[in-house]
């Protein structure tokens, strides 16, 4: 027989209930939003990219802006200083007397802010401040002013304070078109605190600009995450749908990205799976049909053989001993073969889902007694019954007869006397009334290893026993019959020894009253 993922019928109520919440629970957990799921990671990656680009842009912009700002400040300072200086007049040689007054005039008119002005001429050193010589002016600036005679400036940071220093050599006109250096060089030294503040403000502005940028980046990030997550969600739904048996599940393929490839691959795999499963199903159906056909074909010859077994049995006494034994053997085995074929037919009907329930409202105790009677077990002292009167249920009498007969027969064959048939009704956990039939024996019980397989077809609990009087299909047919009644059957062992088979069939009060 080919084992296939056929919807498994519940064999034991206990195990069935245990299976129930199992697969559902993790899936519910999976569907929750995860703190570090794909969405979060995508958002984080997007924000990182946005932060890097916004930061870099801010940094570059800031640098440009700062340079422009400084350049403006410096250019303003230099040109202002030059303008101021050009408005001054000097006698040559420059006399130290009165020079400081001119320098202080110059210092007051500094732009964008007051500066300290230093003058150097020959050996004359003077300033608008307290020290005649500045400690900020570098030799490089001095050389540029004296040797190259260019107006020049230099930013100097001293003790954390930025200064702008300007060196301005002076010339005077000797004619309309000619000038001559005076030898006088004027220096201006200006603290750049205001510019520092401007720069700081710029920095803050850049930072503030980057944060809204990040916030704006969230929107495309969420959209991107959605566009990625939607196919993933579809994939998950499809996988779950496949898992629940809908093998024709396919995912719509959108676009041509990696996710579309994934969907394609999923669809291909699903197609292959569907094909191989349908092949297996066909193979299984063929096997079932074969079993059914074989038993059908066996029935015709068996019909002839079974009709003459009586003749054989009657005449065997008149034959010599060996022939008689052979004849009786053929007769007995023919009978067993007929039972086996009948059971195979019954199983085939279940497999083909051709088995129908022909229910009648019956007195259950009466039905059980009748079953025992027709099997000539009614007066058997190995069998005890506890059958309360008045239990009525809607059952298929023929199938219920098979269930009881198989269970009792099985107990008599494999268990030990006394065999007890116990009938009762009880309320199930869901509140409905359940018909319970228990068949117990006092035998050795069922080996633990055999319990899961006890309802399998042709399963022999005792490996040493190669043949049993039954067909090997009795319990399998019993299971199918109980299942057809929406009932459950389970096998177990009693604490004191012996096997117990419990059949539970729900009582449908509303149907019975109709």
């Amino acid at each position: 027989m080919i084992a296939l993922p056929r919807p498994r019928r519940t064999r034991g109520g206990g195990s069935g209930r245990a299976d129930g919440p199992g697969p559902a629970a993790p899936s519910r957990r999976r569907s929750r939003v995860r703190a570090f799921g794909l969405r979060t990671r995508l958002l984080a990656a997007f924000l990182l990219v946005a932060a890097v680009s916004a930061g870099t842009t801010s940094a570059l912009t800031y640098r440009e802006a700062r340079n422009a700002l400084l350049k403006t400040a410096q250019d303003t300072a230099v040109s202002t200083f030059r303008d101021q200086v050009e408005r001054t007049g000097w006698r040559l040689p420059v006399e130290e007397e009165g020079i400081e007054e001119i320098l202080r005039d110059l210092a007051r008119t500094g732009k964008p802010r007051p500066w300290v002005v230093f003058a150097e001429y020959g050996s004359v050193r003077a300033s608008s401040g307290e020290n005649p010589v500045s400690s900020v002016i570098t030799p490089e600036l001095r050389r540029a002013a004296t040797a190259h005679r260019y107006g020049s400036f230099e930013r100097v940071v001293k003790d954390g304070v930025p200064y702008l220093t300007i060196g301005m050599p002076t010339v005077f006109r000797t004619g309309p078109d000619s000038t001559l250096p005076t030898g006088l060089v004027l220096y201006a030294v200006m603290r750049m605190t205001d510019e520092q503040i401007n720069v700081d403000a710029l920095l803050v502005a850049a930072r503030n600009g980057a944060l809204p940028g990040l916030a704006v980046a969230l929107v495309p990030a969420l959209l991107a995450a959605r566009s990625v997550l939607r196919p993933v969600r579809e994939l998950r739904r499809a996988a779950r749908s496949m898992g629940s048996g809908r093998l024709d599940t396919r995912i719509p393929v959108r676009g041509s990205d990696e996710l579309a490839d994934l969907a394609d691959t999923f669809n291909e795999s699903a197609g292959q799976l569907e094909r191989s499963v349908s092949e297996l199903r066909e193979a299984e159906a063929r096997a079932r049909r074969f079993a059914s056909d074989v038993s059908h074909e066996l029935r015709t010859p068996l019909a002839g053989m079974l009709a003459v077994t009586e003749v054989l049995d009657q005449d065997a006494d008149r034959l010599d001993a060996d022939t008689a034994q052979a004849v009786r053997l053929v007769s007995a085995e023919t009978g067993k073969l007929a039972v086996l074929v009948e059971d195979l037919m019954e199983i085939s009907r279940f497999d083909a889902r051709a088995a129908e329930l022909n229910s009648d409202e019956i007195d259950v105790a009466e039905a059980i007694r009748k079953t025992l009677q027709t099997r000539h077990w009614a007066d058997d002292d190995r069998i005890r019954t506890e059958l309360p009167a008045g239990v009525r249920a809607r059952l298929d009498p023929r199938r219920f007869d098979v269930v009881v007969a198989n269970l009792v027969g099985n107990a008599l064959r494999h268990g030990g006397a006394p065999v007890t048939v116990h009938l009762r009704t009880e309320a199930s956990s869901s509140g409905t009334l359940v018909l319970v039939i228990e068949v117990t024996d006092r035998g050795p019980g069922i080996p633990a290893a055999a319990l899961p397989h006890i309802f399998d077809r042709f399963y022999k609990a005792d490996a040493a026993r190669t043949r049993s009087p039954g067909s090997g299909l009795g319990l399998a047919i019993t299971l199918e019959n109980v299942t057809l009644h929406d009932g459950t059957i389970r096998a177990g062992n009693l604490p004191g020894g012996g096997a117990v088979f419990t059949v539970e069939i729900p009582l449908r009060a509303e149907e019975a009253s109709r």
């Binding site: 570090f36 984080a44 990182l48 932060a51 890097v52 916004a54 930061g55 870099t56 940094a59 570059l60 640098r63 700062r66 410096q74 230099v78 050009e86 007049g89 000097w90 006698r91 040559l92 040689p93 006399e95 130290e96 001429y121 020959g122 050996s123 004359v124 490089e140 540029a144 004296t146 190259h148 005679r149 260019y150 107006g151 020049s152 400036f153 930013r155 930025p162 301005m168 050599p169 002076t170 010339v171 005077f172 006109r173 000797t174 004619g175 309309p176 078109d177 000619s178 000038t179 001559l180 250096p181 005076t182 030898g183 006088l184 004027l186 520092q196 720069v199 920095l203 850049a206 980057a210």
Partner: protein
């Protein structure tokens, strides 16, 4: 990073810390690195400033003396001193051209003699000195202007032994006396018969 990096709690923390570091590094470094105002090199920003020196070419003369930094500096001195000022500079005998003529540049001979007389009190106060030797003879300066504009000066001193600053003092003084742009070539001829030629070359760029 391990593939399970995002899964386990431990790995997860490391992952996020790494991410945070990356963000700070990516955003912070360029910002912090470019913060504030830095030192700069010396940046040239145009020519020198032109100041008023009150030069009157008709009344003043330009003399060049040695400044403390080794260069030469021009001083402006009145050629015709007002009353009570600079009597010692007047050398009537040296004036060959019309001494009482209309206003004009002072005679070059007189200017050279004034230079040779050395820096005045004010000049010395400003640290100006002269590289020229002291000269006693007062008549020995002769200036000739050739047809091509060149000037030749005969000097009452030995030209051979003069240093570069001294030659420059003489050249510039004579050149600026001859022309307002001071571009002419000056030839110095000394008592020793030696000759040295050159131009002043003090013009800083040419603003005009």
């Amino acid at each position: 990073m391990r593939r399970t990096g995002w899964r386990g709690a431990e790995m997860r923390r490391t992952g996020w810390r790494g991410l945070a570091t990356a963000v700070v590094a990516a955003v912070g470094v360029p910002l912090v690195g470019g913060c504030g105002i830095q030192d700069s090199d010396v940046v040239e920003a145009g020519g020198p400033a032109t100041v008023e020196a009150f030069l009157n070419r008709d009344a003043d003369m330009l003399l060049f003396f040695r400044s403390p930094d080794g260069g030469v500096s021009a001083v402006i001195r009145e050629a015709r001193p007002s009353a009570g000022f600079g009597d010692e500079y007047i050398e009537p005998g040296a004036v060959t051209r019309d001494p009482s003529g209309p206003a004009g540049p002072a005679p070059t001979e007189k200017v050279v003699l004034a230079l040779l007389a050395g820096p005045g009190e004010a000049d010395r106060a400003a640290g100006l000195t002269t590289a020229l030797p002291a000269v006693r003879a007062k008549e020995a300066v002769q200036v000739e202007v050739s047809s091509d504009g060149g000037v030749t000066a005969r000097l009452p001193l030995a030209v051979q032994g003069l240093d570069a600053t001294a030659v420059r003092q003489l050249t510039c003084t004579i050149a600026y006396n001859q022309a307002e742009d001071g571009r002419g070539v000056v030839t110095l001829r000394g008592q020793d018969g030696a000759e040295r030629s050159g131009s002043c070359g003090l013009t800083p760029g040419s603003p005009g």
